[in-house]
């Protein structure tokens, strides 16, 4: 019997339980006209169904989670008990072989007969386990169903109980989101801690030289490696700055045109088109930047007698700015549209022109939302990777000249984790430290955004 069948079976059982519970609630009323149910009959049915289905599915989930470990341990215990080697690495190898055998994708001729026996045992036990699971689930479903069914009385607060269960489910869902975040942060923190054991925090935060190449093996010839994050950060900020300088004015003006001047039909066509711009994969922007914009800037620079490297912060920044335009324009457009018509009327009613109304009334009223959208775009720019990988280069120059190649935090993380890795080496661990740094910066930006939005909202409502 396949495990999936068990789930379907449980769902069928629980829908039957719904019908049974609802019917009993109806019967209570029909028997005695004076009886008033606490909840509508559907809630009694729902409660029966939930009690029938949830425990059974929980057991199913737990079994799926632990079955493999339990069975493997039982089978391996038998093998190891027969005087086989007790080395951890070898046990792991054996377990892998066993898994392959069980899954049936082991076609090598020389299968250890002992292992084959173990695999057969594993399969047999798994079958027994599934049948046992089916029986336990069925019993559980029936017990849950009968438990509620026997207690269905007019005074039973079925609605409140159902709502309670739904609430627990909702809490569970939000907990998953929060726990995932906590998990990611913890793993980054842990690896960063290991990095900072080898490289001092001050060197990392204030060092002016970034050169992560270092000898992995003792006998390898290589530079000693230096992990000063300042050049990388400077590159990130420069490119983000250029991107914002492109995206904010263009995006904001586009939003103003779309929401205040454009006709309905034009708006209906252009707004989705702008949003398509947000759907272009960043890789595509990346080669657009590397193959079109960067050479163009270099040639343009040559005509002015400037030396521009073929990978420049300017090219990456401009293309990133184009990528971000739809974020700024679409969000700002929504915010501007949300400004109440009464404010516009009030301004027009005083004889203000359209532009006076926009600059003096609508933009100030929409400011918190606009600031929010801009900060969101900044976070996006700082985290952007593909464009900069392709167009900005890898050399960590500490420079204020946007015509030179620079590198960013995200690019360095990519290069550090691509290819050979050694998780004891600061070279690899540095990626986590950079990730942590990026996370902290984005977090600070978001906090500022929240603060700004809240401050203005208090003032203007």
């Amino acid at each position: 019997m396949s495990p999936n069948l068990l789930v379907i079976f449980t769902l069928i059982l629980s829908s039957l339980a719904y019908g049974v519970g609802k019917k009993k609630a109806f019967a209570l009323v029909r028997k005695d006209e004076s009886v008033r149910l606490h909840s509508r009959p559907g809630y009694y049915g729902l409660l029966t169904a939930l009690w029938c289905g949830i425990p059974a599915l929980l057991i199913f989930g737990v079994w799926q989670f632990v079955a493999d470990t339990v069975l493997t341990n039982m089978v391996m215990g038998a093998i190891v008990g027969h005087g086989a080697p007790v080395d951890t690495a070898q046990v792991n190898l054996l377990v892998n072989d066993l898994r392959n055998l069980v899954a049936g994708n082991y076609f090598s001729a020389d299968v250890d007969p002992q292992l084959q026996v173990a695999a057969d045992r594993y399969i047999a036990m798994e079958r027994v386990g599934t049948i046992a699971l089916g029986i336990v689930m069925f019993a559980c479903a029936m017990i849950g169903c009968l438990f509620v069914y026997s207690r269905i009385k007019p005074a039973m607060r079925a609605r409140n109980q159902v709502e309670g269960i739904v609430k627990i489910f909702l809490i569970f869902c939000s907990a998953i989101a929060i726990l995932t975040t906590v998990g990611i942060v913890l793993s980054v923190l842990f690896e960063s801690y290991r990095f900072f054991q080898q490289v001092p925090v001050t060197d990392f935060l204030f060092g002016l030289k970034w050169s992560p190449q270092m000898a992995i093996r003792a006998d390898q010839a290589g530079s000693s490696g230096s992990f000063g994050a300042i050049p990388v950060l400077a590159g990130t900020f420069m490119i983000s700055g250029i991107a914002m300088a492109v995206a904010v004015p263009i995006g904001l003006m586009a939003a103003i045109y779309l929401s205040e001047y454009a006709g309905n039909r034009f708006r209906a066509i252009v707004k989705p088109l702008l949003e398509i711009l947000a759907g272009v994969p960043t890789v595509v922007y990346g080669f657009f930047a590397a193959l079109v914009v960067a050479p163009f800037i270099r040639n343009a620079g040559l005509t002015f007698g400037l030396s521009v490297s073929s990978e420049s912060a300017l090219a990456a920044g401009i293309v990133m700015g184009v990528m971000i335009i739809p974020f700024v324009s679409s969000l700002s457009d929504d915010v501007i549209n949300a400004v109440p018509q009464s404010l516009r009327d009030g301004s027009y009613g005083l004889g203000a022109t359209k532009s006076e109304t926009i600059t003096n009334v609508i933009l100030p009223a929409a400011l918190p939302g606009i600031v929010g959208s801009i900060l969101l775009a900044v976070s996006r720019a700082i985290g952007e990777t593909m464009i900069v990988v392709m167009a900005a280069g890898l050399s960590a120059n500490l420079t204020a000249n946007p015509l030179q190649a620079v590198t960013t935090v995200t690019v360095q993380i990519v290069t550090l984790l691509v290819g050979d890795q050694e998780f004891d080496s600061p070279k690899t661990l540095a990626a986590f430290a950079l990730g942590l740094l990026l996370f902290v910066i984005t977090l600070i930006l978001n906090v500022i955004a929240l603060y700004v939005v809240r401050k203005y909202r208090e003032e203007y409502e």
Binding site: L343, D345, Y348, G349, L350, G351, V361, P364, E459, Y460
Partner: protein
């Protein structure tokens, strides 16, 4: 609006509770409900605004049918009528606020001091400075109290110096009866005031551009009785310097503050006349039905 609907409504009136008593108590013969030609004193000698044969359409739907009326100098003209009768639409024609509604078309002639405001050569910006407007819901800008009032004078460039602007702000707030309450906190946001104060701020804002006519679209409908009384006193005072057209749902309010009252019914101007006369002895059966509370 077809004839059937009107007939249906007529039936509804007749089946109303004290219909017979109310009709019997009036001696004079009323104009029949089906007759929608305007009765009463539509036209005056010292007209500030004259409207002739005004029709308003929203897309294909006609919202106002052939309305002709004068607004006299320094009077308060109240416009009453059941919901959806077109009184607000008509009010918004008087300073071309309907221009901001794409599907709205206005036909006919509306003159301000003898000049057609719908003439192609007329710019709506100075027009709206001459004919100010106060809206149903208080809508102060998200700015300080001072800036709310100073907004109009600033954009129209009618001030040369900060002192002059200060003077206009103080003067306008005094006219709106708000100065004593806010003089010490002019830099606080206008949105932080109470509803009644906000509405008086909006009146001060309209007054600050020195209009000739002030249009008010149910200015008290969002206010409590005390704030309403304050605003009503204010309107009576403002009448000395301005011409005021006010739309109201509140018949007592129309009776208290206006000199003339116009009754709109489903897009038709049914009756105009001196307020006292309208409320004591309406000429039209529909007016009578409305003011005796049979519908609305």
């Amino acid at each position: 609006m077809g004839m059937d609907t009107v007939l249906d409504m007529g039936d509804t009136f007749l089946t109303g509770k004290n219909t017979l008593g109310a009709i019997d108590s009036v001696v004079e013969e009323k104009v029949d409900r089906e007759d929608r030609t305007t009765v009463g004193t539509q036209f005056v000698d010292d007209a500030r605004m004259t409207c002739r044969d005004v029709n308003v359409f929203y897309g294909d739907k006609q919202a106002i049918r052939s309305v002709s009326i004068d607004v006299a100098n320094n009077e308060v003209l109240a416009m009453i009528g059941p919901s959806g009768c077109g009184k607000s639409t008509f009010l918004r024609c008087l300073n071309r606020m309907n221009d901001t509604v794409d599907i709205c078309r206005v036909k006919g002639e509306i003159l301000l001091d003898g000049h057609d405001i719908y003439d192609k050569s007329v710019d709506v910006v100075p027009l709206r400075a001459q004919v100010g407007m106060v809206f149903q819901k208080p809508n102060p800008f998200p700015k300080s109290i001072y800036d709310n009032v100073a907004y109009g004078p600033k954009i129209h460039g009618i001030v040369n110096s900060k002192t002059e602007l200060d003077g206009i702000v103080e003067d306008s707030l005094k006219k709106a009866g708000l100065w004593n309450e806010v003089s010490d906190r002019l830099d606080e946001p206008g949105t932080g005031l109470s509803g009644g104060q906000q509405q008086r701020l909006c009146i001060a804002r309209a007054v600050a551009v020195r209009p000739e006519v002030i249009l008010m679209d149910e200015p008290c409908s969002a206010l409590d009785p005390i704030a309403t009384a304050t605003v009503e006193d204010l309107i009576t005072e403002l009448k000395e310097q301005y011409t005021i057209v006010i739309v109201t749902h509140n018949m007592q309010q129309a009776a208290r503050i206006s000199q003339r009252t116009a009754y709109f019914h489903l897009g038709d101007l049914v009756e105009v006349g001196a307020t006292d006369r309208i409320f004591t002895n309406p000429l039209h059966q529909l007016t009578e039905d409305y003011i005796t509370g049979r519908f609305g």
